[in-house]
Subunit: 262 residues, 3 copies
């Protein structure tokens, strides 16, 4: 049965852990179309995976099944869950890795469903205590793609663990304090500031001790350091034909200050 | 509709930019078969992407659609184009990234077609000024794979931007001056010297201050540093079970001198 | 004809060598489903590829064709071979890269078949002396996936080259000396010690000058350095939320000593 299953993990590309998951999926559903979202999430970086997933899932067809295995608690009491939304299904550990997906759908909260994966019928046997990606998440996603109903996998639950997501804050002097939430592989600094958060009028952006005047429209539209609204809708700081992250020695969590220009 | 679409980008594998493109393609054409050519092109390295593409496209079936997104000018006035050749279709920014593909087909120049992508009907909306890969190139390639005709995408054009490609030169003393055009991940130094460029008889090759006598047939066929005609038809300098690039501290653009042995 | 072909190489992801192989396969069998096992095997590391392959192949459907191209002897007299087992087919150079696959099937030795790939009918022409992955292994795998019989590819052979695989040894004082056979991308140290090799009762594990008391069940189940039976069934040394490899400066080949706790 044709279906798209995506994979997001921190397994890297130097081992065969991802391939083992693909083999398990294809053994159960040979027609599954498996797409890699990212396997270079930093080890155990749940919030990083949550963000990267959020930049991709919305571009896939409805009914896509997104499997996320960034799972420092594998083998412990943390739950394994399925989240069904009108946009897609998500199969993941209940550790906050779906945090960016949940609020997205707050307006359709009544239409989302969640189950804890407890029915071992769909698992590989025996289950390794250290590799639920292969032994639980992959076979569950494959059976889901074959049409198994949510109730087949376990009991309904009413909430998931979510991470506190960074949001820009207003400081006393009226400036907006944003935070870098992701440094991409170009070295672009993606912040938690959305277009709507920006004050009206001309702004200056302070990052890593440097000040940028105004927003550019494109990466080629400024000289040196520049700021723009990136493709995910967030304010980004970039360096023309270079890495802003390296240039400013900036990292996730660092502050970015937006002021209205006088 | 079954069709092969390949992707070549400088997006790296630590983000979900490539996956977003795949999601867009599969939303439009769920039957598309997407193959990665390379996503580790150095950021904004248009000539590097042009070369890497040239080493792969000819091995794909005819009618394959090759999408290349190494695009430092994204969002600016640079054109987005489709090049149709008897070998394949190419969808890319008009920045020279198809330079190695164009001369290949000079003999069939009358049979190639080019359009500027201007018809927004096939684009995602709104279009991000920073991610045409997702919002223009991916949906255009997907609609092309569904059978849209070239004319649907925009007006015919008669030339593309091309980069000056390095070619070996003859020096006054009769030796041949070649250039390293690519250092592969083994550290092999691939030059712009083709078999036909080599002088007849026994040659010596000077690279990074070292001299190699004669050509080997295989990587295992010499001791230490060796030279051979690689799988792309170019003269390569290699180090047996090591990296010639690291050993010689050699880089793209460096000269390699070929002399006839006396 | 639908069929799964997996690829394991040391080609890395910064070039288009892997893509060239995929293009060749899809030109011959457009229905082939190609799955990457790993392309980041260290250059020419035959035993590393042998191990990584062994951690993945058993999870794929029967009749999967596994192509392995870690091939320092490409173009020399080393044979190219096909190994057929009840679990899968393997297409590879005869350099020991299938060593972990062979003993697995010792119980079914009578049911395995091997041929030397000598019939050039299925090769690309001309064959590059440096890239048999593209010109021999890929087209052979593709034709195999279309149903060609083993005998079509060359004459039957009765043995393959195998590497001496590390096995734990008993020392004079009764302790067990294991060896690190792989450091994965989390920095987990995977040893050649299987559950069955372990002495009964409580054990201590010495690695990199540190001593670990007892086995944990999960990566989250210990503090700091810990030992457990990993997902492949081997004893692993891990560092909670860190890299044991970096912490202990440990590498493949290093010894790990298991003692019974008194």
């Amino acid at each position: 049965m044709s279906a798209i299953i995506t994979l997001t993990t921190d397994f890297g590309l130097a081992d065969a852990y991802v391939a083992a998951m693909k083999g398990v999926i294809l053994t159960i559903n040979p027609e599954a179309k498996i797409v890699d979202i990212c396997h270079n999430i930093k080890p155990q970086n749940v919030s990083g995976a949550a963000f990267v997933l959020s930049t991709a899932y919305r571009y896939f067809p409805r009914k896509t099944i997104h499997v996320v295995v960034v799972d420092p608690g594998v083998g412990t009491e943390r739950r394994a869950i399925i989240l069904r939304t009108p946009a897609a299904d998500f199969v993941a550990p209940d550790n906050g890795v779906l945090s960016y997906v949940m609020p997205d759908h707050s307006e359709i909260r009544p239409r989302r469903e969640m189950v804890a994966i407890t029915n071992q019928r769909f698992w590989r046997s025996p289950v390794s205590a250290t590799f639920h990606g292969r032994d639980i998440f992959a076979p569950v996603a494959a059976h889901l793609s074959l049409g198994a109903s949510l109730a087949d996998f376990g009991e309904k639950i009413t909430s998931l663990k979510t991470l506190p997501l960074p949001r820009p804050q207003r400081s006393k002097d009226g400036s907006l304090i944003g935070h870098i939430i992701h440094v991409d592989s170009f070295g672009n600094l993606i912040t938690d500031v959305r277009q709507d958060d920006l004050p009206r009028g001309e702004v200056t952006i302070e990052a890593g001790g440097k000040t940028i005047s105004g927003l550019s429209r494109t990466y080629a539209g400024g000289k040196g350091l520049l700021a723009l609204i990136g493709s995910g809708g967030y304010l980004e700081v970039a360096l023309r034909e270079g890495s802003a992250g390296a240039f400013l020695n900036a990292h996730s969590g660092d502050e970015v200050i937006i002021k209205t220009r006088r």
